[in-house]
């Protein structure tokens, strides 16, 4: 099989592969969610300062991490599509946007629900919250831009450029709690001191990490599902899609 053939076969092969992988990803995600929720809600003790309210962390922190992780995948695959003209990369960027936007929304809402009892306010225009809100608007902007352009190739290119500019916001979100004096508490686990001593007890750390893993796998499950629809849509003029459409009628 030569390179040209491979290039044309990629969406078709990926469509099949995604169909096979999706149920496995879904099962593992559900299992991890169950374990994470059990340890987070039943096993982990109450926080000495925040009482039971800190349990919001088990959904808030994974959602916030995913909002940034998905954005990096979106921008990264957008760049790959832009440079090497790889259709699947363009599609991954497109399907990641609504998922990432939903995680960002969840991070903002759960943050608000945590902020009210702990800080006494639903919202503050501080650096962490504002940069996370900007991330939400970047996702919305990306989707609106792609929806406004009919030609998928041009839509992908424009979207990738916007996404790449928006990458600047990611370090701002991450370091905002260090650079500025914010209402938001500093990170309990930072990449730098992870191996040393994270400022969080293992009984709270493990459920958090399990939930984060569950959210990550959840993203891949939904991305695979959305990729299948996106591939059908963009490859609708090919013989193999016609076969699927005709065959399942």
């Amino acid at each position: 099989m030569n390179i040209i053939n491979y290039k044309y076969a990629a969406p078709r092969n990926f469509y099949r592969l995604a169909g096979v992988l999706t149920p496995w990803f879904a099962v593992i995600t559900a299992a991890l969610l169950g374990i994470g929720l059990y340890f987070g809600l039943f096993v982990a003790p109450a926080d000495y300062q925040q009482g039971e309210s800190y349990r919001i962390m088990f959904v808030h922190v994974p959602a916030a991490w995913m909002s940034m992780f998905v954005y990096m995948i979106l921008a990264g695959s957008g760049a790959v599509g832009l440079i090497w003209n790889i259709k699947l990369a363009d599609m991954l960027a497109t399907v990641s946007a609504p998922i990432g936007a939903s995680f960002t929304f969840l991070a903002l809402v759960t943050g608000s629900l945590w902020g009210k009892p702990m800080w006494g306010t639903w919202w503050a225009w501080d650096a962490r919250l504002t940069s996370e809100l900007l991330l939400f608007f970047l996702y919305i902007g990306f989707m609106a831009l792609q929806a406004a352009i009919d030609d998928p190739r041009r839509a992908s290119r424009a979207g990738a450029l916007l996404a790449l500019v928006g990458v600047l916001n990611i370090p701002v979100i991450h370091f905002s709690v260090q650079w500025w004096n914010t209402l938001h508490q500093p990170a309990s686990i930072s990449a730098i001191n992870k191996i040393g001593a994270p400022a969080i007890h293992p009984s709270m750390l493990y459920p958090l990490l399990i939930m984060a893993l569950a959210f990550t796998l959840f993203y891949f499950t939904v991305a695979l599902m959305r990729m299948r629809a996106e591939i059908l849509q963009r490859e609708r003029h090919t013989a193999w899609v016609a076969e699927i459409v005709g065959g399942e009628a």
Binding site: E52, V59, T110, F218, T221, M225
Partner: protein
């Protein structure tokens, strides 16, 4: 374990369960919309191919 105590979450029940409820909605919404997208795309393509066939006959 005392369930009413569990649901009260030390007085933070509204905030904690509100957060978990929102998380559940976002997760379920993602799955439903991804599934629906695949279904509607297939249906749309099927309708188009029928129209094509009708046009060529």
């Amino acid at each position: 374990m005392n369930w009413s105590e569990f649901f009260a979450m030390g007085g933070y029940g509204l905030y904690v369960w509100g957060s978990y409820g929102c998380a559940a909605l976002v997760l379920v919404g993602n799955v439903v919309s991804a599934h629906y997208k695949h279904k509607t795309t297939l249906k749309m393509l099927r309708d188009y191919s029928r129209l094509d066939e009708a046009g060529t006959k």
